[in-house]
């Protein structure tokens, strides 16, 4: 009996994780706020820890209006030029 494989027959993945930073000290950090309840408050608290522990510099908040969809390309492009890394997360 010959069965077809039902998994994706297209490219395995086209998007990949960025490589980790070698160190956090003195890096510029961005906050990607996702419009979830309490998200921006929680993210500011996390960013403050990076400031205190690693001397990071925090940039203004970047926003995406839809928590469940990828951030708009222009938001990511702007952030990529401004910061070394982003933090994001859900607050509810």
């Amino acid at each position: 009996m010959r069965l077809y494989d039902p998994t994706s027959s297209g490219p395995e993945r086209t998007l990949f994780r960025a490589p980790p930073l070698p160190a956090l000290e003195g890096r510029t950090i961005g906050i990607l706020e996702n419009n979830k309840l309490n998200a921006v408050e929680m993210l500011h608290e996390v960013a403050a820890l990076f400031e205190a522990r690693h001397g990071c510099v925090v940039r203004p908040v970047y926003s995406k209006s839809n928590a469940s969809a990828p951030a708009p390309a222009e938001v990511l492009a702007k952030a990529a030029g401004d910061v070394d890394f982003l933090i994001t997360g859900l607050g509810d």
Binding site: R2, L3, P6, S9, S68, P70
Partner: protein
């Protein structure tokens, strides 16, 4: 010639062993699948005009692609007859529209299941059920088309429960959630007739749905009484949001509503007006947010949005209403959106024809 000989699995010529093999590969939704043998997949592909490698949908977060071929393989596994295939293809074309946001609705803790509503003559042509036990078991087309959606989400897009599908409670519709719109005795235009398709063209509407809520009312005999029951279900604290809604009126309820001369638009406006909670009420359960209220009551607010209240949805058009179910029984239903706002918007596509492609 097989589509891709590297993707052929040779298994012993034993049906039960092949079913077990599919389990071992992690290809099932927990129920046994039809082993996707080559001949049966090829018969399904005959119902699609594009080549097997044509891409129907792309996962925005991973780039994984659904080809016509992969869709056919999963359709066979779900138990679809080949003639069901155009419905499945159209459903994923609709889900691929960015505003449907099928990654978010599939991955979320919210437990969304894609609800498919098939409208037009194709429903009868392939033997779909729009009648008694509408959301229940018993009809092959309804059951297997909906199931094929889930198998594709699992096998092609790798939305695996607990890994990439983080649904807190799940949803029984995640096994299968596919109905036909009832045309028999329906006093309102069919959905496909309101979606600007040429006469005779069927459509499928997709909706990132939460759980099913039965709306029982055997005592009401006016449109207001029936629809207030529906509006109350839509506005319950557990699910009121700015998201969209699907309402399926039973034939008994529809006879009361449309029999009094109410149009679909009348019913939508009534439901939007009454499916609401006060600011104080929303605050009492901790669900009130200034930003949501301002969004609903800002410069583009609908005229029926009442100051001091949070309504379900943004406009009456956010409430999809049609008729379905058996002749007997005062049981309609309300199905909330997974999205609490505009995170997923219902979409539709024609079935088996190319209207807007190039």
């Amino acid at each position: 010639m097989p589509f891709d000989s590297r993707r052929i699995h040779d298994v012993p010529d034993d049906l039960l062993a092949a079913i077990d093999y599919c389990y071992e590969q992690g290809w099932t939704d927990g129920l046994p699948v039809i082993p996707p043998v080559v001949d049966r997949v090829d018969a399904t592909l005959a119902f699609e005009g594009r080549p097997p490698e044509a891409v129907i949908a792309t996962h925005p977060a991973t780039g994984l692609q659904l080809t016509v071929h992969a869709a056919a393989v999963n359709a066979v596994m779900a138990g679809c007859m080949p003639e069901y295939f155009p419905v499945l293809v159209a459903a994923f074309e609709a889900m691929d529209k960015p505003d449907f946001n099928f990654h978010g609705s599939t991955a979320s803790t919210g437990g969304s299941a894609p609800l498919l509503i098939v409208s037009g003559p194709v429903a009868d042509d392939i033997g779909m059920n729009a009648d008694v036990n509408l959301f229940g078991p018993g009809n092959r087309a309804n059951a297997t088309i909906g199931r094929a959606v889930r198998l594709i989400l699992r096998n092609v897009f790798q939305m695996i429960p607990g890994i990439s599908d983080k649904s807190t409670q799940g949803n029984p519709g995640k096994y299968s959630f596919c109905i036909a719109e009832r045309s028999r005795s329906n006093p309102w235009p069919l959905l496909c007739e309101t979606q600007d398709y040429p006469p005779g063209v069927s459509s499928v509407t997709v909706f990132a749905a939460g759980g099913f809520c039965n709306v029982e009312n055997h005592g009401g005999n006016t449109p207001e009484q029936i629809l207030l029951s529906v509006a109350d279900a839509m506005a319950n604290y557990g699910c009121i949001t700015l998201g969209q809604s699907v309402v399926i009126l039973s034939p008994e309820h529809m006879r009361i509503v449309a029999g009094a001369g109410w149009s679909r638009s009348d019913a939508q406006r009534f439901l939007f007006t009454h499916a609401k909670r006060s600011i104080e009420g929303m605050q009492s359960v901790g669900k009130y947010r200034d930003s949501e209220y301002d969004h609903q009551h800002g410069s583009n607010a609908h005229a029926l949005a009442e100051a001091g209240f949070v309504h379900r949805g943004m406009t009456p058009d956010d409430i999809l209403i049609t008729m379905g179910g058996g002749d007997a029984g005062g049981h309609s239903c309300f199905i909330p959106s997974w999205s609490r706002g505009r995170g997923s918007i219902f979409q539709h596509k024609p079935i088996g024809v190319c209207i807007d492609c190039v």
